[in-house]
Symmetry: C2
Subunit: 258 residues, 2 copies
């Protein structure tokens, strides 16, 4: 039975996609070679492009799958560079928001879809858009846990309570098993006083829910997507690659304990 | 007659709010002391908090104004720290997306609202959420120009065409006068090869539409919002303050020529 994790935060630019792509690739590269599926649920289609799959030529995307126009198996593409399966997305996905709002129990759609294929994977990661809309609610309804990438800055910290309220609402309504998998500090610059202050506040409030792994600001993470590769393919020796390999280990240890 | 500018980009975390708050404050502080209104159209309510206004206690926000429950004049609050008027926002605004989709010509709602007060201001800036949804379409329909903050990185550049398509669509349907006011390079780090490559591509494609003013990465810009202040109030001598004062000048020169 697959472990399904939504990677969500309505605050923009906190490293959701960078985490989804690189964690997926690092999990797939780990010792036991688990089978990994990455679902792109953001109309920007960044996770799709970051894995080297062209969102503009994809014949089928998460849009058609969510609206039951195409079977999910027929929409999956294999990413050579990340060695994972990907359900691609592009701008058409914007149309799914409205369609699912009007549908009966539209928030369950992704969970229904994953029900058909989850036995074929060990990990399923879902990259969410920067909003608390129907697409993110679909991801939270389908997932067992939510990983929250967070930049250690004021606006990102300020928005955390709204996200936690939404998680709680989904737990009460469509997905009682949903738990917070962890808070991941991203783009962390230890020389920066603000970052250290915010990090200390997170540790105080959330304790062990905060991953020990800290993702540093590392330009190789920003360069890799322009080559359609995860950072372990682009520059394996970089601090960015090391930190995501460490995160994959920490996640696998946490999951074993649950 | 006010100059109305939407500050938009569906890519998250590119500096939309930082630009909206600091440009508004720098315009208000300029020689002729123009009257400035900042509209927060993002349910995150970051621009509201960045101006020192508490979004949680605001009695009226852009949500009630867009749904015609409260007159816009009754919802405006004065920001002491930025010396501007603000139409605040908070998480309730998420509800406006759905309500405006169902309303007749819901995309014109903000333009109707601004019609009542635009003669009282010289500049009206609109901070948009990280999506191409109904709220952003409202801003583009109400505005004369759109300012596009862009980080010089791959995913931000990649998403530009989708934003320009939306601008073109709004120009063809609800707002024929909408023009691209300019592209603003934000969080720019000149030591970073990727940033220089992307910047060169922007200048090649867009020429003089790209603002000469470059906003550098400067930690004072990230610290200021936690004090509810624009950077010219928090640290007037910082590179962040200097660059937004420069942008305000460049904008005023451009506007005069039009
Ligand atoms: N640790 C890091 N070091 C340096 N750059 C990073 C890091 N993580 C992400 N980036 C870069 O920062 C930008 C924002 O990251 P990313 O796009 O992954 O965030 P996001 O939360 O998915 O954004 P959105 O809200 O638009 O979906 C991207 O250009 C990315 O390449
Ligand atoms: N030039 C800069 N230098 C350093 N930090 C910056 C700069 N501009 C913005 N920031 C910080 O980067 C983060 C992202 O900026 P901001 O929130 O303004 O972007 P946004 O586009 O409004 O994000 P969203 O898509 O969530 O609305 C914030 O924490 C902000 O304080
Ligand atoms: Mg993303
Ligand atoms: Mg913002």
């Amino acid at each position: 039975m697959a472990i399904i994790i939504a990677i969500a935060n309505q605050k923009g630019g906190v490293g959701k996609t960078t985490t989804a792509v690189n964690l997926a690739a690092c999990l797939a590269a780990s010792k036991l070679k688990p089978r990994v599926l990455l679902i792109d649920l953001d109309p920007q289609g960044n996770a799709t492009m970051g894995c080297g799959i062209d969102k503009r030529t994809a014949k089928a995307t998460s849009y058609e799958v969510l609206l039951r126009q195409i079977a999910v198996r027929d929409a999956l593409q294999f990413s050579e560079s990340a060695n994972i399966q990907v359900l691609p997305a592009n701008i058409d996905l914007t149309g799914a928001e409205v369609a699912l709002l009007d549908a009966d129990s539209g928030q369950h759609r992704l969970r229904e879809v994953l029900g058909q294929i989850q036995h074929e994977f060990d990990y399923i990661l879902i990259d969410c858009p920067p909003s608390l809309s129907m697409l993110t609610v679909n991801a939270l309804t389908a997932a067992q846990g939510v990983m929250i990438p967070i930049q250690c800055e004021y606006y990102a910290l300020e928005g955390l309570s709204a996200l936690l309220d939404t998680v709680e609402k989904v737990r009460r309504t469509t997905n009682p098993k949903l738990r917070i998998e962890g808070l991941l500090r991203t783009m962390f610059d230890p020389r920066n006083r603000l970052a250290n202050e915010v990090s200390a506040q997170l540790l105080e409030h959330f304790g062990s829910i905060v991953y020990k792994t800290l993702i540093p600001r590392n330009v190789r993470l920003a360069e890799a997507p322009s080559h359609g590769q995860p950072v372990i393919g682009y520059d394996k020796t970089s601090k960015g690659a090391e930190s995501y390999l460490e995160l994959a280990k920490e996640l696998q240890q946490r999951v074993r304990k649950q």
